[in-house]
């Protein structure tokens, strides 16, 4: 088959060639470097900086033998990435800007030069010397703006950090204090320290929402207002922050400096705020100024001391410092501390991996030797080496601008603390002070919930909020409350008015604090039954719901030479292992006793030896490791994106191409990737067209291959209506197979030519059939085979289906399902006729193109001995019993796993689950993200019921029902859903003796179960009797399989709010905006009043329903029309009016939108408009022609139980 030859991009493979093609990545590095240098000069530590630099040089010199300056050249960017280069210049600027420090400037300048070469070298390292890899990668990953300050102070910071970052650790008291004052803070310090890294790590993430940025800026300016803090607590903010964090790396890539700047600032702030708060107690703003000198001081002494050990650390740490600095763009003390942590870790890695000499001979001599001549070549490179870190940083320049004031502040505390961790006490008070304000600001009830915080450590923002709410509503006393019997038929308002939160496992506070966030990892039963028999008795599904790669605000990134794992089951060390003594730990999954490696005995946080239980791996249940070459089968692949576009008549007519091109142009620079990134295009109708995009060509060459089947096509009609999707995909597979990557397929019709052609299988008359829904499964195994081939070559296929007629999504979806891709479906898409769809495509594309991405990933799920997994749900290929092969992983992918209990768990009281996701970041680093969840084991049925996580159970049931409807039939699946309710409630009924049999009793934890199941039965995927297009149904099923729990729940059971009377009561603050929190309404038309306006949040769609008698004030102030009659039938935007109610409404909607990756479309529905049927079909509690009302359903269930 001819397809492969025309493709120009592929000609250049391998790192060396990458230059040409992927200049952008290089460009990025340059930037960073440049910027960092600026920082250097700026940094207060100029004095110290020189020595440090030299050290750095030494340190780096070893690793970076390769550092030739080839790199510089690549900058000539033909490619999108080219813009990055533009940034290079700023660096000099920076230098100039730095006022006093001559030393710093000089050093920085030199750095710049060398730095340019560096990035390249780092790449080289990847391939050449695996050992180096870890080091370099870590550096690179951590590109944060603020580095410069750190650089100078790095030595200092080390000392400081321990105290600040881990207030709780050194002294027993702090912990308790922390608690009372603030839940989050205790945890936070740790996070903070890591956060910098995190940000660095999570490069690829997508869109930085502007509001968040503002928020951050605001914070910085205000000196970390408590109020501003409060915002983070909110979910939306969190997400925003995450995005930003993720986006940082991207930022580097970004052509527009301004964007990068803005981004960088926010990021830094994120990291900093906690630190600042903790370190500087009351004097937030003032402290900052002081800090710098202090740090300098500290740094100097350390340097002068020139102790062997310290030096070594420094060396290692230096780049850690850089990283840190970068991470915490603003050099607040805390951040610095965090940096130190990182540094230390890095150092470890660096020492071990990069230069054994340094580690071996801690003596000053080694330094000298290094510097002097041992590695002369390296020298230059080494100088540059620091730069790489910065390069990673999004925007040094912006950081500078913002950071200067804060930076100085940071050093001071550090200085104090630095000497030897004495600083702690001083820091502590600040911490407390800060903490209290935070809570208060965040929430009205801030103080009250501190006790209930579920997962304070890891995700302070979100946790804070959720925990607070949870604590208030449900969780203060989980056991009694969750078991309270509820008479379902008599409880009229079953739906709580506040969002339902995940139940907290019944563990002690300590363990709960350490436990994984429910956003990433949830189990349907938070109390695991002891035996399979008990589980069978409970009649509830046991399984896990995972969102492993979601955008995180706080993620400890660990660069360690040895990743500590159990020797027999390969479990990563986690917070739930037990240390038998100093030297041995017992695996919590297989109970094997393992040795603690020497390296692990040293705690980089406290710089103390012999405290393995205080290592970050053991303090955080969600961590990310930078993996060594042991974790690679081949050099990390570059980011390769191929777009396969349908250009048949149908597609051109629909007009998606313009939207796609526009989005691509806008986001090209934000595509996650490095200098090796490649992009390709391929179009097809009845023929396949390749494009030669080689540089040097004034315009792309188009190459047409009409030989799709080996049989030449002689006829080429001008208006080609055929679609040769199959051959196009095969060609795409051949193109991608040398590297792997992502293929994005845009298809607008049923493929009608060549292999993989499909016939229309839908009978429109059967759309509302009650009996049989056929053709839910694929018609051919062509797409499945193709997907498996792709998966084997680390290529994922993402499908965008924009069709107006039936296109057999059931068959087409296979190409994404088994290659770990994702599916987007836009029914009856037309760029002009359906503007809302067009807008949705545009927004989805923006997210899709810019979000984080992991390549050549595998995910392994381990669980405690006795438990086993038997079914997986999601898009992937199951390679072996517990190993999922994911060619790509994206932050919006969710997974579900069904578990069974193979051996009884009588000899254990806790079970643990661990997912380890090994992936290649878009920057070419191998990383492992590990989540660990710990749950108690119970032996009684009531305890099992007490711990039911009803939302997780419903999501798992939905996944199982999808499988059932495909493998068996839809009616089977529906029956199974109803039976799930009947069985579980009757099983519960049998455990309570004192209740009359006539009543339908459920434990409080399960009270929403029937409602949610009814919602599932009325969901597009499973409903019968209502006209549902086959593709819509199949798409709903695909979504059920791949959506993470939070989003899936909205799809199953939308949220309804009344919005015509929004008040500030109970409102939360996000980004300076007041976001009202109206209460949830049950999904019944009885709640709709003609005088009101309601918002329904269906996950991917928002409906605003306006009642006929709605107050004209509201219509005028919010919708911008004088009265009800004037509202147009199709309205998809709310005008930005300068009225209070408009502001409230919009801020509420924006807040809802910010919480999800794909922006929902808004429809304004008038009371009597035809569109209202769409709206009313979501009223789950109401009766429809074909389905029960909620009450009828309850009666039905009751009847079944009594039978």
């Amino acid at each position: 088959t001819p397809p492969s030859h025309p493709y120009p991009h592929h000609s250049a493979e391998g790192p060396a060639q990458s230059q040409m093609q992927v200049p952008s990545g290089y460009g990025l590095h340059h930037q960073n470097y440049m910027a960092p240098s600026g920082h250097y000069s700026q940094g207060p530590g100029k004095m110290t900086s020189l020595p440090l630099d030299t050290q750095c040089d030494n340190y780096y010199s070893g690793p970076y033998a390769a550092p030739t300056q080839n790199v510089v050249t690549p900058s000539t960017a033909n490619q999108p990435g080219a813009q990055m280069y533009g940034r290079g210049p700023p660096a000099p600027h920076m230098m100039g800007s730095t006022p006093g420090s001559l030393h710093g400037a000089a050093s920085s300048a030199s750095h710049l030069h060398t730095s340019a070469s560096q990035p390249y070298s780092s790449f080289v390292n990847h391939y050449n010397s695996p050992s180096m890899y870890s080091v370099t990668s870590s550096v690179a990953s951590q590109g944060f703006p603020s580095t410069c300050a750190h650089y100078a102070m790095s030595t200092v910071s080390n000392a400081v950090y321990p105290n600040v970052s881990y207030p709780s650790l050194p002294a027993g008291d702090p912990y308790g204090q922390m608690f009372t004052s603030q839940n989050a803070p205790t945890v936070r310090p740790v996070k903070d320290s890591f956060s910098g890294q995190n940000t660095a790590v999570s490069h690829p993430s997508p869109l930085p929402p502007p509001p968040s940025q503002q928020h951050h800026q605001h914070q910085s300016l205000s000196g970390y207002n408590t109020l501003s803090w409060s915002a983070p607590g909110l979910p939306t903010q969190d997400s925003l922050i995450r995005n930003q964090m993720g986006s940082l790396p991207i930022v580097n890539n970004n052509t527009t400096n301004t964007v990068a700047d803005s981004l960088s600032c926010p990021v830094m702030q994120n990291v900093q705020p906690p630190k600042s708060s903790s370190v500087t107690s009351t004097v937030l703003s003032g402290a900052s100024t002081r800090m710098p000198p202090a740090t300098k001081h500290a740094a100097e002494p350390v340097v002068s001391a020139s102790q062997p050990l310290e030096r070594i650390q420094h060396q290692g740490m230096q780049y850690g410092d850089y990283v840190n600095n970068q991470a915490s763009s603003t050099p607040t003390p805390l951040s610095s501390t965090s940096d130190d942590e990182e540094e230390e870790e890095d150092e470890e890695a660096g020492v071990d991996s990069s230069s054994t000499t340094s580690s071996a001979s801690p003596l000053p001599n080694s330094y000298d030797a290094l510097e002097g001549g041992s590695y002369p070549d390296m020298h230059s490179s080494s100088a540059s080496s620091p730069a790489p870190d910065r390069a990673l940083e999004p925007n040094p320049a912006p950081a500078q601008a913002l950071s200067p004031a804060p930076t100085p502040t940071a050093p001071q505390p550090a200085k104090v603390a630095k000497p030897f961790g004495y600083g702690y006490p001083t820091l502590q008070p600040g911490y407390q002070n800060v903490a209290a304000p935070l809570n208060s600001g965040a929430h009205p009830s801030g103080l009250s919930y501190s006790g209930f915080q579920q997962y304070p450590q890891h995700y302070p923002g979100v946790n804070q909020l959720s925990s607070s709410l949870g604590g208030l509503s449900l969780q203060s006393s989980p056991q009694p409350e969750s078991l309270r019997p509820v008479n379902l038929t008599q409880e009229r308002n079953i739906l709580p008015t506040t969002p339902v939160w995940a139940p907290v496992p019944n563990l002690n506070l300590e363990l709960n604090k350490l436990n994984c966030s429910p956003d990433s990892f949830r189990c349907t039963l938070t109390n695991i039954p002891q035996t399979q028999a008990l589980l069978n008795k409970a009649k509830l599904p046991l399984g896990l719901l995972l969102h492993p790669f979601r955008d995180l605000t706080q993620l400890p990134v660990i660069t360690s030479n040895t990743i500590v794992r159990c020797r027999s089951c390969r479990t990563y060390i986690n917070p739930f292992v037990s240390f038998i003594d100093q030297r041995r730990w017992k695996c919590n999954l297989c109970y094997r006793v393992n040795d603690v490696p020497e390296e692990f005995m040293y705690n980089p946080l406290t710089r103390s030896y012999g405290e393995p239980h205080k290592r970050p791996e053991v303090q955080n249940s969600t961590v990310e490791f930078i993996a060594s070459s042991d974790y690679m089968l081949r050099p990390p692949q570059p980011a390769v994106y191929l777009f396969v576009l349908d250009v048949s008549h149908n597609a051109v007519e629909a007009g998606y191409l313009t939207i796609l091109c526009q989005s691509l142009l806008e986001n090209l620079d934000k595509l996650p990737g490095d200098s090796r990134t490649r992009i390709g295009f391929m179009t097809f109708d009845s023929t396949i067209h390749f494009y030669n995009l080689q540089e040097g060509l004034s315009q792309p060459q188009m190459l047409i291959v009409s030989d799709i089947d080996g049989k030449p096509q002689t006829v080429l009609p001008s208006q080609e209506t055929h679609s040769a999707l199959g051959p196009a995909l095969q060609a795409a597979f051949k193109l991608m197979s040398p590297t792997g990557g992502r293929v994005s397929v845009f298809q607008t019709q049923l493929p009608s030519l060549g292999s993989g052609l499909l016939q229309s299988r839908e009978d429109p008359n059967q759309r509302s059939s009650i009996k049989v829904v056929q053709h839910l499964g694929p018609a051919t195994d062509f797409y499945k085979k193709l997907a498996l081939d792709c998966s084997g070559q680390q290529t994922a296929v993402d499908l965008f289906l924009l069709s107006s007629q039936y296109s057999d999504l059931a068959s087409l979806a296979c190409m994404s399902k088994f290659s770990a891709g994702c599916i987007f479906y836009y029914p009856s898409f037309h760029s002009t006729h359906s503007p809302s769809q067009a807008e949705k495509l545009q927004k989805d594309l923006r997210r899709y193109l810019t979000r984080k991405i992991g390549f050549e990933a595998v995910m392994r799920i381990r669980c405690t001995k006795g438990l086993s997994m038997h079914t997986f749900h999601g898009n992937f290929f199951v390679r072996s019993t517990d190993l999922l092969s994911l060619a790509n992983i994206n932050p919006d992918a969710g997974f579900a796993v069904q578990l069974s209990i193979e051996e009884s768990l009588t000899d254990t009281s806790l079970v643990c689950f661990q997912t380890a996701l090994l992936y290649t970041s878009s920057k070419g680093e191998r990383r492992i993200r590990v989540h660990t969840l710990c749950l108690p084991v119970v032996s009684s049925l009531t305890d099992v019921y007490a711990g039911v996580d009803v939302q997780a159970a419903i999501c798992l049931l939905a996944n199982m029902a999808v499988d059932r409807s495909v493998s068996s039939s839809l009616s089977d699946a529906r029956d199974a859903l109803v039976n799930a309710v009947v069985d579980s409630l009757s099983a519960y009924g049998s455990t309570i003796s004192n209740v009359q049999h006539s009543a339908l009793i459920a434990p409080s934890s399960l009270k929403l179960f029937p409602l949610y199941v009814l919602a599932l039965l009325k969901q597009k995927a499973f409903r019968t009797g209502t006209s549902t297009r086959l593709d819509d149904r199949v798409y709903a099923m695909c979504q059920i399989k791949t959506q993470p729990l939070v989003h899936l729940m909205k799809m199953i059971h939308p949220n309804l709010y009344r919005i015509d009377r929004l008040t500030d009561e109970g409102a939360i603050h996000v980004n300076d905006r007041v976001v009202p929190q109206p209460s949830l309404q049950k999904l019944s038309a009885e709640k709709l009043t003609r005088e009101g306006a309601f918002l329904m949040d269906c996950g991917s769609v928002f409906y605003i329903w306006i009642g006929k008698g709605c107050d004209n004030n509201f219509i005028e102030n919010v919708l911008g029309y004088p009265n009800f009659a004037a509202i147009p039938q199709k309205m998809t935007h709310l005008p930005e009016l300068d009225t209070l109610s408009s502001e409230r409404t919009r801020s509420f909607i924006t807040w809802l939108r910010d919480g999800r990756p794909l922006s929902p479309v808004l429809h304004v529905v008038k009371d009597e408009s035809p569109a209202k049927t769409e709206f009313f079909q979501h009223f789950i509690e109401d009766r429809t022609e074909a389905a029960f009302s909620y009450y009828e359903f309850l009666l039905h269930v009751q009847q079944q139980i009594c039978k």
Binding site: P778, K784, S811, T871, V878, S880, L883, D963
Partner: protein
């Protein structure tokens, strides 16, 4: 004549026994993660039809030679083989589908099935052997 029939069945049965053993070995390889699901399934799917044909031949042979007892003994297994083959969904890559073999305990049930068949074929083998010797 009679002996010829049984000799043929015996040889056929030997082949089926080897096939079952091969199935079991391959499946247990998959269980132990020595091979991946894709190659395991493509290996096994290749032999599904030979097994089906081989067993159908024996069954038909017994019917033709009017050994009713042995025919009735073989009939359920032959029916199951054919049923299994026919009921493969159109989107699947064969009786053994790499994307599903790890789901819903399919691997275990395949293994169980292969074991049962092995036992059955062994039983048949000795039956044919006995029949030959009796002749």
């Amino acid at each position: 004549m009679e002996a010829m029939v049984f000799l043929l069945s015996l040889i056929d049965c030997c082949a089926l026994i080897f096939l079952s053993v091969y199935f079991i070995i391959t499946l247990s390889d998959l269980e132990c993660d020595y091979i991946n699901a894709r190659s395991c399934c493509s290996k096994l799917n290749k032999w599904v039809i030979p097994e089906l044909v081989g067993h159908t031949i024996v069954t038909v042979l017994m019917l033709v030679s009017l050994h009713w007892f042995i025919f009735l003994l073989n009939l359920p297994v032959a029916t199951w083989n054919i049923y299994r083959f026919i009921m493969v969904p159109s989107g699947n890559m064969g009786v053994f589908d790499p994307t599903e073999i790890h789901n819903r305990g399919q691997l275990k049930s395949h293994m169980k099935e292969a074991m049962i068949k092995l036992g059955f074929y062994l039983l048949c083998f000795f039956m044919y052997l006995y029949s030959i010797l009796n002749d």
